[in-house]
Amino acid sequence: MKKSIYFDYAATTPIDPKVLKAMMPYLEKKYGNTASMHQCGRIVNDALTESRKTVSRSIMAKFSETYFTASATESNNTVIKGVAWANQDKGKHIIISSIEHDCILNSAKWLEKQGWEITQLKVDENGLIDLDQLKKSIRPDTVLVSIIHASNEVGTIQNITEIGKICRKKNVYFHTDASQSYGKIVIDVNKSNIDLLTASSHKIYGPKGAALLYVRHGVKIESLLHGGGHENGLRSSTVNVPAIVGFARAVEIYQQERKKEAKRLTALRDKLTKGILENIKGSQLNGHPTQRLSNNVNISFDKVEGESILMMLDMEGIAVSTGSACASASLEPSHVLLAMGISVELAHSSIRFSLGRWTTEKEIEQVILVLPKIIKKLRKISPFKN
């Protein structure tokens, strides 16, 4: 097998060695349960406290507004179902965008079956929601607006401060799924009037199994997991201290590296985009040309199917992802690309490259070298001749 080149940091990131080092004591000697009163428990509870301080400060949140869950999916499920459940006296209407991650979309769809009403905001061809449509969609019975901060597929960054302002003025809770943006973009929950926020550890070089759920004081939310009352009663479960310690360490590293890393990745991202668009006819960039994540490149290739591109790249040791139906469990093409008005054909042919901390210029050059040959080969097999 060839040396692998990883371009799927948006799916998950490897653990930073510094993170692993911080976690090790809690996997070995410091194994206590944070709920135990004895010394063994107190030691790990102290670590949990320190981790919570670090993570809460990273978004300017209060310590007691910061909860740990096991995944962004769990945080998002808790927000959608928990806020819906706890605010039924106000109403049963929720607004989301049409480009949310499946865990928001499917939670909302599930609520719809239980009698809630869901409004899905349209996006423009760059993936941005229309703020006027948002304003018009908020009703007296609207309990929550949930908009993804940066798209996991095309990297488009929403104007969350503007969205927050509208929601605050209309007195409706605003949640943002910041799974892809957290760490990369500075977020201040107060400045942006964010009431609830989701972020994840394994997207920022922390371990899997830890995520953030921010809930502003005063927000009414019901718990999904009832039990021993951990996380201030919002999320019962024995606390996964090693993962949370790792998460907090990953946050610290990002705070030091953010500026430098964003600059480096943006340059690499633009080099990759330019290299592909210039060398491959019939290719187009999906998502916002500038208002996008520093590490996201999403490109469609006319008349070639995305999964076959992915598999050919995989054979070259290059890992990417695709919005093609053929690569999804549902055999449906990416709902995000379709919502942006991209044709089904081009959605099938989309490839996402997501760059990260260990992406090198050489790797970018390697892709620019092999990808044109792959597209050429697949077009040769294809019945559609260009």
Binding site: E305, S308, A325, C326, L331, S382, F384
Partner: protein
């Protein structure tokens, strides 16, 4: 979802790619919206025993790795064989030949079989040769279902 080494081999080095000049039969199936289109060309000749055999077969496919591998597989399975034998091939023959397919990709094998059936039907029809009731039924079934519906068969 994991592909077998044989699927990957056929995907990497597909057999019998391209077109046949003045083919005796052409079968086309699927559409771009569904994510896969297969076009199959055949050349028919009589062998020493006087049976009609598929002398040459070529394909062009737009689609995923499984779509390309199953196209390649069906051409391998049918080349040099009698028309009767070719018509006896089914999706199981393709799946078996490829050492299995992920369940969600089984429909690709059916598409490749359907493309072959369409090419043979086209040949028989063009040459005003008798078409069995069974083949007529298969042909109608293929025409009837929209290409996307193939996916819901499994």
């Amino acid at each position: 979802m994991q592909y077998s080494p044989k699927v990957l081999k056929h995907f990497r080095d597909p057999q019998n790619i391209g077109q046949i000049d003045s083919p005796d039969g052409v079968g086309e199936i699927g559409n771009v919206v569904c994510g896969d289109v297969m076009k199959l060309y055949i050349k028919v000749e009589a062998n020493a025993k006087g049976e009609e055999i598929i002398k040459d077969i070529k394909f062009e496919t737009y689609g995923c790795a499984a779509a390309i591998a199953t196209s390649s597989a069906i051409t391998d399975l049918a080349i040099g064989k009698t028309i009767d034998y070719a018509l006896s091939l089914n999706y199981n023959s393709v799946v078996k030949y490829l050492d299995g397919l992920p369940p969600i990709k089984i429909h690709c094998s059916l598409l490749s079989v359907d493309a072959l059936v369409m090419a043979i039907y086209n040949y028989l029809q063009e040459n005003k040769k008798p078409i069995s009731a069974e083949l007529e039924k298969r042909h109608q079934r293929i025409l009837k279902k929209a290409a996307c519906k193939n996916k819901s068969l499994f």
